[in-house]
Amino acid sequence: MNRHIITLFSGLLLSTASFAFCGFYVAKADVKLFNKTSQVILVRDGEKSVITMSSDFQGEVKDFAMVVPVPEVLKQDNIHVVERLLFDKLDAYSAPRLVEYYDEDPCYEPPRDYYLYDRMDMPMAGAAMERAESVNSVNYQVKVEAKYVVGEYDILILSAKESSGLERWLIDNGYKIPTGAKEVLDPYIKSNLKFFVVKVNLEEHKKLGKQELSPIQIKFNSPKFMLPIRLGMANASGPQDMIVYAFTKNGRVEVTNYRTVEAPTGQNVPLFVQQKFGEFYKDVYTRTWKREGKSVAILEYAWDVSGFVNQFCDPCVGPPPMLQDFANAGVDWVQEYHGGYQGNVFFTRMHVTYDRTTFPQDLMFQETPNKQQYQARYVITHPAASTFSCDKANAYLADLQKRRQKELNNMVSLAGWDAMKHASYPSEYNKYIKKSKSGSGKKQGGFFSWSSGTNGGQQLPVMLLSVLSLSLVFFALTRRPLKRS
C-alpha cells in the first residue's frame, strides 16, 4: 500500500517538474554565483559569423556604453537586437545539472525510476561605462564610418588611424575605457579592425518600454573565428566570466590557442548537495579552473541538436532550442519542416574565466567534426524507501554505506568541501542493519542502480588487444637491423 502512494506522489512530482522547472532553481536564491558574467552566442558557418552579446548591465541606462572591435563596417541590416529570453533559454537548456535517482527496494519488486532535475542559474553582469555628450573633432583621426539607430541603441562604427587618437575620442565622448584596454587598441587598429560603439538612445528606450537592455547581435564575414576578449579585460576587479553558446553545422567548437577541458561529470555526490547545488557547482568549477592552470576554457555542454535527432538532452533540464530560437540566434541554415525543423546543428557551451595575466591572447576558435556529446551532470541517489526487513537488506545496507562514503569523497575532491562536517552521512542507514545469526558478514553485490554505466562488455576484448599491442611493441623494439654487406 505504501508503495502505491509513493508512486502516485512521485508521479505528480514528475509532472510538475517537467513543466514548472522554474520552481526548482536552487541557484536563484543567490543572485550572482559568478561575478561579472557575460553571455555570448556565436554562430559560425564557413566565414559567416553572428555574434550576440548579452551584458546584464545594472546601472542607469544613460550610463551604458559598449565598444566591440569588428572586422568590417557593418550594414544596418546586419545589426539587430534580440530578446534576453533567448539567453535564458539556452542557459537553462545547457547548464550543469543535478539528477536524482532512487534505489530499488532490495526487499520488493522494483518500481520505476524517477528523475528530478535541478540546474544552475548563471546571471550575468556587464562592465559599466559612463557616457557624456558627444564631441565632434577631426584631429582625433577617428572617422565615423556609419551611424545607426537599432532597437533602443545608438550605434556608431568608427575607424581609427592610431590608438591615442581613438583613446582620446572615446574618453572625450564619455566612454571610460578600462586601463587594460589601452594596450589592445593599437593591435586592433593595425589589424584594420573597426570599432562598434553602442550607447542607449533614451527616446527609443522609453518608446520601447523595456525593463532590461536588449542583447545586441552583429553579423559579418571574416576568416577569423574569434572573440576579442582582450578589449573587455578590466584590470583591478579580478577575473571575469563568460559563457559562450556556439552553434555550428558539423561538430564541437573548441579554443585553439588555449586548452579546452571538460568539467567533471557523472559523479555521485551526497544527497545534501541538492540544497546547495549552485554553490556546489561553483566550487567544482573554480577548483577545476585552478587545477587546470586557469588558462583554459571549460566545456559544460556539447550536443547534436540537428533536426533529425531523437534526443536533444538526457535528462532535459530546459526545453531545447526550437526553430524560432535558431532564427533569433542567427542560425540561418535551418528550415521549417513538418512542424519541427531540418538542418544539421551542433551546440557547444563553454565557460571561460579570464583576466589579463591568464589570457594574453584573444580567444581563437575552430569548429571540429567532433560530434561526441557531453554534459556536466552530477548524481544523487536516494536510498531505498524500505523496511529493510528481508535477508537481502543487510548486503544492500553495507553497500549503501560504502557508496555514501564514496559520494562524500567525490564531494571533497570535486568541490573541496569539508567531509568532517558530514561525518555521519555514510553510516546514516546502518541502524537498519540486523545482526545476522550466522555472523558470516557475507557481502553481495548491490541491488540498486549505479549512475555510471559501465561498458563492461567492451573491456575484455580491448584489454586483450592492448596485451597484443604491447607485445608487438616489444617485438618491434627488439628487431635488430640486418647486416649490410
Binding site: E183, K190, T256, T357, P360, P369, N370, L472, F475, P481
Partner: protein, 297 residues
C-alpha cells in the same frame, strides 16, 4: 713469445650491471628508441595529467594498423624488420595529433601514413613525413565523404606553459643531437617565431606575453622537435635542410597569420615536402641511416 695476460675477473657489481649495460647499449644504438620512449611519455602525460579523453581502442587500432602495413611493406621490400620501429613512431605520433570520430578514419590515417612511405618515393627515399601525410590527407579525404570531415587536429590540446617547453625541448634535444638534425628544428622555429614576433609584437604592438603564449605552445614544440625533424623525409644536404626548414617556417607563418589556418605548420610541411627531391637533386648530401652498419650486431 707474447704472454697473454689472464682474463680479469669481473667484480660482482660489474656482473650485475652487465645485462643493464647491454640493454642500454642496444637502446642507445638507434635514436628511434628514444623517440618512441619520449612520444610514449608525452602520450601518458596527455592522458593522465592533461586528462585527454583518449580511447584505448583507438590507440590499439592505430598501433596495430601501422605495424601491419609496415610489416607488409617490409616483406615486399627490404625484409629488414627493424623498420617496424619507424611504424611505432608514426603510430604514437598519430595518436598524439590526430583525432577522429570513427575508427575507420583512424585506420585510414594509419594506412595512408605508412603506405606513403613505401609508395611515394623519389630515388629510393620517401618524400613525405608519414604522420604528416597521414593527418593531412585523412582530413582532406574524409571531407569528401562527410560534411565537415571526420578527422581533425586540436592545436590547443597541450596548452602553453613553460614546463612543456622544457620537457619537449629537452627530449627533442636528446633525439636531435643523435640524428644530427638540430639545425632543421632551429631553422624552422627561428623563422616561424621570428616572423611572429616581428609582426605581433613589433608591428601590431601586442605586449610580450602575447608572444610568450605562442612560444610555449605544446603543439608547436612537438611539431618542431619531433615532426619536421624527420631525418629521412628531409633534404639530405645540411645547408639545403636549413633553407628548406626556413621556408616551411615562413609558409607556416603566412598560413597562420594571413589565412588564419590554426594548424599551419602541418599544412606548410605538407606543401613543401615535395621540394625535398628538388633539393636533393641540386644540393646532394649523404642519405640518413638510423643505425650505422658497423653497429649492427
Amino acid at each position: 713469445m707474447e704472454t697473454t695476460s689472464p682474463t680479469p675477473q669481473l667484480s660482482t657489481a660489474a656482473r650485475i650491471a652487465a645485462p643493464f649495460r647491454a640493454i642500454y647499449d642496444y637502446f642507445s644504438g638507434d635514436a628511434r628508441h628514444y623517440q618512441v620512449l619520449f612520444l610514449l611519455t608525452f602520450l601518458l602525460f596527455g592522458i593522465f595529467t592533461l586528462n585527454w579523453d583518449m580511447s584505448l581502442l583507438r590507440f590499439n587500432v592505430t598501433l596495430l594498423t601501422c605495424l601491419a602495413v609496415q610489416a607488409v611493406g617490409i616483406h615486399f621490400t627490404t625484409k629488414d624488420y627493424s623498420g617496424l620501429k619507424s611504424a611505432l613512431i608514426s603510430a604514437f605520433s598519430l595518436c598524439l595529433m590526430l583525432q577522429a570520430n570513427s575508427l575507420w578514419t583512424v585506420v585510414l590515417a594509419a594506412v595512408l601514413s605508412i603506405g606513403s612511405k613505401f609508395l611515394i618515393r623519389w630515388k629510393n627515399k620517401h618524400i613525405f613525413n608519414p604522420t604528416n601525410f597521414g593527418i593531412i590527407v585523412t582530413i582532406l579525404i574524409t571531407r569528401l565523404f562527410v560534411e565537415g570531415g571526420d578527422a581533425w587536429v586540436s592545436p590547443g590540446q597541450w596548452g602553453s606553459n613553460a614546463l612543456l617547453f622544457f620537457m619537449v625541448g629537452a627530449a627533442g634535444l636528446i633525439v636531435l643531437l643523435r640524428v644530427k638534425r638540430l639545425g632543421t628544428a632551429i631553422a624552422f622555429i627561428v623563422t616561424f617565431l621570428g616572423l611572429t614576433f616581428a609582426r605581433n609584437i613589433l608591428y601590431l604592438g601586442w605586449p610580450v606575453d602575447h608572444f610568450q603564449q605562442t612560444l610555449t605552445t605544446g603543439s608547436l614544440l612537438l611539431f618542431t622537435f619531433f615532426m619536421i625533424t624527420d631525418p629521412v623525409a628531409t633534404p639530405s644536404n645540411a645547408k639545403a635542410r636549413i633553407i628548406w626548414a626556413a621556408m616551411v617556417g615562413a609558409l607556416a607563418w603566412y598560413l597562420s597569420t594571413k589565412l588564419w589556418v590554426h594548424t599551419a605548420p602541418l599544412w606548410a610541411l605538407f606543401f613543401l615536402s615535395p621540394l625535398t627531391p628538388l633539393f636533393d637533386r641540386f644540393m646532394p648530401g649523404e642519405r640518413f641511416q638510423w643505425t650505422k652498419p658497423e653497429l649492427a650486431k
